[in-house]
Symmetry: C2
């Protein structure tokens, strides 16, 4: 048996499940990924891959001290239950108990955005501050909130649904049933949806000429056209920035965190996004910035925030 | 010297300052109030009234263990400074240090809504739950958020400004400079302002006939007309409920607290307000209420939430 005990951090995504094997002093030793299937397969696939990780690294499974899991959907960390997950077709599934029937170690699970926020807080851009709001801009808008080192999970783990904060009463219809949710304006999907409408209304624009049909438009092409200079792309992007800044300013006023950290593909575009956002936030935040500046940052761990966060959660939440 | 040590809880309001003398087992022994003046006078008036409280109760000031203060405005609890207060004409005023120059005991200060929330959490409707969002409906919309027994104060104490969450982009102009803030729709002032507009547009309504001029309309008269039955008052009130529910649902999705507790005069109207609000919240909250019901409650401590919270803060934050 080695000198250390080990942890496994698991990031369950819509398309793939990522595992990281960590020693207890924050080093990632090894990784493995597998394809996401429905919840019934997940447990066996996870167990199989954890054994594989240990075997490949000449470690005994007895050296496993705990597992942390970030899960897409509504997850109750207290009971270890997936209350609901659209991606994995799960409803009230006792995932922690099911895994422990095969590997009997302490396991902590939480919503994937909460876990990614904890990762970024502990090992990324948040490591020198107390409180952060982590915002992921993807298909939807996800959020994780860390206050004094702890995830704000809410009752039965249902909290931190910042994408479902209405910023425009009677606005865009959201999948949650309300109108005007932040995520209907600020998600990557919203940007592309709006760009497609604009390009169809402006057939002579560079944006329209860049693709054969609107469906072909993606983030890559959109930002390419935007940076080369196109009026139509510019208007779409400015509207996007306005709406994103509106929601971020709300979060700044509600939490007044040390930092708001953005994750997801769009955030990696850098200055084109961050400069106008920080400017607007500084102007609109309650009391101006005379009192307590909220830093806007881009995620440092990027796609690894999930497994690092899952490890951090296993280490700090399991005793 | 008596068996106990004592605490003083102070609630600084726009018009009066309330003091409560507490023993250390949650009993309020005595109270005294004085008129609010600007910050220069506050320190001396406070010190004088604290001495008076002790003298009137045959106690020695040496038995004072700590003071808690709820203050209207932006207050930094860490440094004991009033960063900005419109009501008391204060800017970067080291209030804790100034009081300690005359009474050298531990003192903790925070924003009045945070402190009232802590009071309601510790001794009122929140005493059996973990997390609450406390929302006061008055001239503005104030908020205090308690997570695992701690006030969410934010960086330099600037957090929990829930009234300055935009729910309607490009909506009503707010005093903070943005448009569409929750407080421009959900404050008591907003209700009366909208009622005045509606009554002027409908001279034959009961609402219009109830007063000689729109300026005379107040909450008392409005609810009187509403409960007796008036179409115009009804429409105004339904719009108010819609907007209030929108903001409360946002807070429910962001925090998923055990309870949202309403304070301020309007909330004491009871069922006429609470029934339609709980109905809307149940329908609109993310995921419906299948996962974690958020209870909507009316403050129990009402106007005493401030002094009880100030006492609770002195007791739990000062060591």
């Amino acid at each position: 048996m080695g000198d250390y005990m080990y942890y496994v951090g698991v990031d369950v995504g819509g398309t793939s499940v990522k595992l990281g094997l960590f020693d207890e002093v924050d080093n990632i030793i090894s990784r493995v990924n597998f394809k996401t299937k429905t919840i019934e397969y997940l447990v066996d696939d996870l167990v199989k891959n954890i054994h594989k990780l240990f075997k490949n690294n000449n470690l005994d499974i007895k050296e496993l001290k705990g597992i942390g899991i970030g899960f897409p959907g509504h997850v109750d960390g207290e009971t270890g239950t997936v209350v609901y997950s659209n991606n994995l077709v799960a409803h009230n599934f006792p995932v922690v108990k099911k895994i422990q029937e095969q590997i009997n170690v302490p396991i902590r699970i939480s919503n994937d955005a909460n876990v990614a926020a904890l990762g970024e807080y502990t090992y990324g851009k948040g490591k020198d501050v107390n409180n952060i709001v982590f915002v992921t801009l993807g298909t939807g808008v996800g959020g994780g909130i860390i206050i004094d080192g702890k995830m704000l999970e809410g009752k039965n783990g249902a909290g931190a649904e910042i994408g479902h904060m209405v910023i425009s009463t009677n606005g865009q219809l959201c999948s949650c049933g309300r109108r005007g949710c932040f995520e209907t304006y600020a998600s990557a999907s919203a940007l592309i949806r709006n760009a497609r409408v604009a390009m169809c209304n402006n057939p002579s624009s560079k944006l329209c000429k860049a693709v054969k049909s609107p469906e072909e438009l993606n983030g890559e092409i959109f930002f390419d056209v935007l940076l080369k200079g196109d009026k139509v792309a510019n208007v779409v992007f400015e509207n996007y920035i306005e709406d994103l800044a509106e929601g971020l300013t709300n979060l700044a006023n509600i939490f007044r965190p040390d930092a708001i950290i953005l994750g997801g593909g769009i955030s990696y575009r850098g200055d084109v996004l961050m400069e106008p956002l920080q400017l607007r936030l500084g102007k609109m935040i309650y009391g101006g910035q005379w009192n307590a500046r909220v830093e806007l940052m881009i995620s440092e761990l990027k796609n690894d925030a999930g497994i690092y966060g899952a490890y951090a959660m296993a280490k700090s939440y399991l005793k």
